[in-house]
């Protein structure tokens, strides 16, 4: 089992957090979200992303609007709702807490 595999469930669970982070910066469409993720360890495909986005929209964390594109079909551009922003803040602070815990455990200044 590789190191990356050991964290597979963790990475899967973090995907929602990261997608919210990416969407929080700017209105984006799926290809852009993927382009940003695919540079990292969190590379994924539309097969995973669309169901996730649709769930986040159902949970009222983000919304989308249709934008015509010069080439091809119109695209869905996603952005955070007020709810989504609040959730992202909570996730951020929780993630920091987790990070701090990981750092401090086993360290000298416990």
């Amino acid at each position: 089992m590789t190191i990356a595999n050991k964290f597979l469930p963790l990475r899967k669970g973090l995907l929602e957090f990261l997608v919210l982070k990416i969407v929080s910066v700017d209105k984006v469409y799926v290809a852009e979200i993927l382009a940003r993720l695919n540079k990292t360890d969190f590379a994924t495909g539309e097969g995973t992303l669309y169901p996730l986005l649709s769930r986040l929209r159902r949970e009222n964390l983000l919304e989308y609007e249709w934008v015509e594109s010069e080439s091809g079909p119109p695209r869905k551009y996603y952005q955070l709702t007020e709810n989504g922003k609040k959730q992202l803040q909570e996730l951020e602070s929780y993630w920091q807490k987790l990070g701090a815990t990981v750092k401090s455990l086993g360290g000298p200044n416990e």
């Binding site: 495909g45 097969g47 669309y50 996730l52 649709s54 080439s71 091809g72 079909p73």
Partner: protein
């Protein structure tokens, strides 16, 4: 030269090689099944179609109007496997345990003989050992009738083979997630050397210490039962062999109306009775013994039980034949001799003309039966 299929993706027409179309079709169909539980299934599939359309656009030029199989393969690879988004929020979870209508199947995995008990156990969601215990008690209490119920259930119930059927048996909703879970689990099981041990462990999930004690007592009882029944079978066999020897060497003479029946018929009758009693006892002893060693798996079970069952049915037919023959001969005798021999000593006359014929007289006493009284004729 490849055939080309024209499809509609997100409102535009695209031309695909036939094989490319097949692959795409398969991908979308699997997406559809995997997302069966997703309330936004239709929208997500529309999203997929638009994405595929966009990606196809990337491969098309003015002089290249058809998307090839290799290109579709690339597109599918890029999109990755479809993963349904699991909901963490509690409101969605409450909706999740939607129960499906249950259906009873036999379940071979974890089963010992026909999987009837393990199927019932899965259906009612109780420990399979409890079901077996109940079944054995019922078989004893009903003098074997429930054995027939078991055999009928084994023959008539379909076997749960596909994961869908197994989910249906437990009344679970069958989703793509389950398939993946089961597939992974199965892989882990098979890749382990102690595959059967694991399967056996799964069949007795989390027995408490009390449960373990009961299981041990149960095993001892099963062993004692198996031994006691084996001894019974041995005694019955001795009786059967002894009776055949008696027929062959003692040449017994039967009462008048049975005297025309061949000793072969009687021997066959004995044999049929012997098989009819011994086979069910053997089956119970065998089951008791298998229950004791439920962890081990034997693939021979079904065949032996099939042979035993066939033999039992043959014995039943044989006994019926013997009884009919004996009855027919006795009836013929009564018709031609005019009396019925009751106990070797006393004859009851049913036809005065024949009874009084000295040529027919073989026994000492003749009676005429009337109004509940026997009247001596001579």
């Amino acid at each position: 030269m490849n055939k080309v299929v024209t499809i509609n993706l997100g409102g535009n027409a695209y031309q695909l090689e036939e094989k490319a179309y097949d692959k795409l079709q398969k991908y979308l169909a699997s997406a559809w099944t995997k997302l069966a539980d997703d309330p936004d299934k239709d929208e997500i599939l529309a999203d997929f179609e638009r994405t595929i359309a966009e990606k196809c656009d990337g491969y098309l030029k003015a002089r290249k109007t058809v998307v090839t199989e290799a290109e579709v393969e690339k597109i599918i690879k890029q999109m990755g496997p479809v993963e349904p988004a699991k909901s963490e929020s509690s409101e969605d979870e409450s909706k999740e345990p939607e129960s499906q209508p249950k259906r009873l199947y036999t379940l071979k995995e974890g089963g010992i003989i026909g999987g009837v008990c393990s199927g019932l156990a899965a259906y009612f969601n109780i420990d399979v050992t409890v079901v077996r215990l109940i079944f054995i008690l019922l078989i004893f209490a009903s003098a074997g009738f429930w054995l027939l119920v078991y055999v009928l259930a084994m023959l008539l119930l379909p076997e749960a083979q596909t994961p869908e059927q197994k989910a249906e048996l437990r009344g679970e909703k069958f989703s793509a997630q389950d398939v993946l879970k089961r597939a992974k689990k199965k892989y882990a099981d098979v890749s382990s050397n102690e595959h059967w041990q694991q399967v056996a462990d799964q069949t007795k999930p989390m027995l408490s210490r009390g449960g373990q004690v009961i299981l041990n007592i149960f095993k001892i009882v099963a062993l004692a039962t198996a031994i006691a029944l084996s001894i019974t079978v041995g005694l019955l066999t001795a009786v059967w062999v002894g009776s055949l020897w008696w027929l062959i060497f003692a040449h017994p003479h039967f009462t008048d109306q049975l005297s025309t029946i061949s000793l072969w018929t009687v021997g066959l009758g004995f044999t049929a009775v012997y098989l009819l009693t011994v086979l069910p006892i053997l089956l119970v002893a065998y089951v008791a013994n298998r229950l004791r060693k439920a962890d081990e798996k034997s693939t021979q079970d079904g065949r032996w039980i099939g042979v035993g069952g066939a033999l039992w049915i043959a014995a039943a037919a044989l006994l019926l034949g013997v009884v009919l023959t004996v009855g027919g001969r006795a009836h013929e005798f009564q018709q031609s001799h005019g009396y019925i021999n009751v106990d070797g000593q006393h004859n009851i006359c049913i036809n005065n003309d024949l009874c009084n014929d000295p040529a027919q007289v073989q026994s000492q006493y003749y009676y005429h039966y009337e109004n509940g009284h026997l009247y001596e004729l001579r």
